[in-house]
Amino acid sequence: MSSTSVVIPVKDGAVWLAEVLRAVAREAPDELLVIDSGSRDDSPAIARAAGAELLEIPPAQFGHGRTRNLGTARTSGEIVCFLTQDATPEPGWLAAYREAFALDERVGAAFGPHLPRPGTSPMIARELTEFFAGFSPDGAPAIQRSAGEGGWHPGFLSNANAAYRRTVLERIGFRDVPYAEDQAFAQDLFAAGGWKAYHPGAAVLHAHDFPWAQFMRRYFDEYRGLRDTTGHIEPIGVRSTLGAVRTEVARDRAYLHEQGAGGPERLAWTARSAAHHGGRRVFSALGSRADRLPEPARRALSLEGRGDGAGTPVPAAPALTHVSPRRPRELFAEILDAETHGIVPLEDPVPGAADRTPLHVAIVIPPFRRGSGGHDTIFRVFREIERLGHTVTVWLDDPENHQPQRAAVIRDEIREWFAPLEAPVFKGFGDWFGADVALATGWQTVHPVLQLGATRARAYFVQDHEPEFYATAAEHRWAAQTYGYGLHAICASPWLADIVRERYGGSASVFQLGADETVYHPLDVPRRRDTIVFYGRAVTARRAVPLGLLALAELKRRRPETRVVIYGDPIPNDTSFPYEHAGVASQEQLAHLYSEATVGLCLSMTNYSRVPNEMLACGLPCVDLEGYSAESVYGADGPVELSAFSPSALADHMERLMDDEALWERRSREGIAFVARHTWRAAAEEVEAGLREALRLRERAAAASR
């Protein structure tokens, strides 16, 4: 059974409040909250005596919408019911509301009839009776599914007696308007796809029978509020008003007759009825047009004394479209998990574990596609790690299910596309059984790794400074934060290791990329003296392709006979010079290209790529940028020509290599020797040292904390 809260805003409500609270108590809600906004009578004491929770707020803080939102926030029931201080629930009121919401889960709001109190004037009593009977001609609960549904008063909803589903109320909320916050809510509810229900059993005794002048001022305020929230303007005309008054008076007299009133009583009420209905037409019309009245007139006519420019229409809210959840978890939910649950502690270290073989290394990888260079590096290195005697397991972190294939298929893809890894593959971490070292291999995998238990150490396989892949974005910050979680970074260049240590204060060791010597070596093809091969994958911004194209344009201007071959992108780059496009070539095709070309051009503004190594392995001297990672790997005067970040300087370096045979020979020779020293096996040994260092650091940290 749904829990219920009843909220009653009160100001000087002592006349009926005790009766109202007794009736509410009889209905046994789970919570009862009275919000008093500066009563000068006994209302607060009456509320306390009735056992209600009392919240007192300054009068200036009161707003029909604002205060009811406050009442919602201060309660917790699944159904929130609102009453006014003079609306007394009839027996069965709360049960009827529970029934109303049980009709359909799309019902977001419900209301019941207002019954006239004994002694209410016939005008008000008849109006109430007829009005609410219209919602349910057969006397059964009814649902309104849209604002325009036929047979319903378009936006009627009154917080004198209404109930709301908390989840809907918290999502939509009452507008902070001076009046008609309930009618505005009805509009917003329908716009959001919600429904409204009427239950005849959710009845209250509630009838405002005021002196004539008070009635008229109330109508003025009410219709001013309606104009502000719904745009309604009450029509008026002499003939129509007279006709309407005549009709209403006749209906009042008929109602009195039905109630058993005699002729003299009916006569006595006739004049009052005419004055009431006539005045109502006039003051309603005035309220709809309050913005045209002078401010003193507005203040005088308003029951609440409001002369403010609140007659100015408040713009309607935008049409809202309800969107259902489209994913089980939010993107990057692991980041929130790490914040909420903290980092899972590492296991106590076992002395000597760092030096033992085999280690169990669990590599956590992001989803991959065929041709992914980063994954190729990971799998080549860890195939060698397996050959060094260690146990490797592969854990695919794929919360978005980019790779829906099963684990056995993914394992086969790794072995076919990248390297013949022996390791088993697991999708997700449901079968996680611990590791000596859990290894993150990309920034998105760091947070999941931090949640893995039964682990002795954590490490981070860093192939590039990933924050630089993003502009100013959440991903940039999150990627940068991953270097600060205490994972030992195993970095693919001294440049990267320096960044981790100096910028992030982390620990780092280094490995250097290899090249597949079975594919990349000088082939027996004639070496040309006029050909530049350029890695022109423009979609990867850090490859500085626009700079490379400018340099080539300058070179072509100086030496029009130069042959340019551009590869790496299936779509040819738009250039001002003619060239040959090799598209996305296979490794064997690239080896041929490198073996016949004169100079290779491959630029990297972050960590160096494998391309320079592969070019050098084929005896092809290449040009890259100084001041980035290539310098830390190849040295200032090593096998790679390092150029300033300038198209002219790049053209100078390419020209020098084309003209200076001795320089070309030296670079080519040094390049082949360099790559011969930097095999994947050598890379794996460096990575192995990094994994052991991660375990040693863990031992030292545990010893220091004892």
């Binding site: 085999p358 146990t391 490797v392 294939q405 684990a407 056995a408 394992r411 390791a423």
Partner: protein
């Protein structure tokens, strides 16, 4: 009463060495268990590649109606098939 501390120290050192050996032994066992488990899982993935590729759950398939009858039919067909193979082998061998 005086205590022979050198004997205690020796005993502690010996106990220490014994515990370290035991830890090394357990570590080796653990590493071997992990390696064996990984090999088992990798082998299973190797063997079930096509089932996984086609997302075929053989257990579920064999629980469906008619599966038991299908298996009985296969068993019944085994004897004549075996006889046919033997006959074919004899003919080939004879030829």
């Amino acid at each position: 009463m005086e205590t022979d501390l050198s004997v205690d120290a020796e005993a502690l050192a010996a106990e220490n060495a014994r515990l370290r050996e035991r830890v090394d032994e357990l570590e080796r066992e653990r590493a071997e268990l992990v390696a064996r488990t990984s090999r088992l899982v990798a082998d299973a993935e190797e063997r079930t590649y096509w089932l996984e590729r086609w997302q075929l759950d053989l257990n579920a398939l064999m629980r469906r109606p008619g599966a038991a009858q299908f298996r009985a039919l296969l068993r019944a067909a085994r004897w004549p098939m075996r006889q046919a193979k033997l006959l074919a082998r004899r003919i080939r061998g004879g030829a």
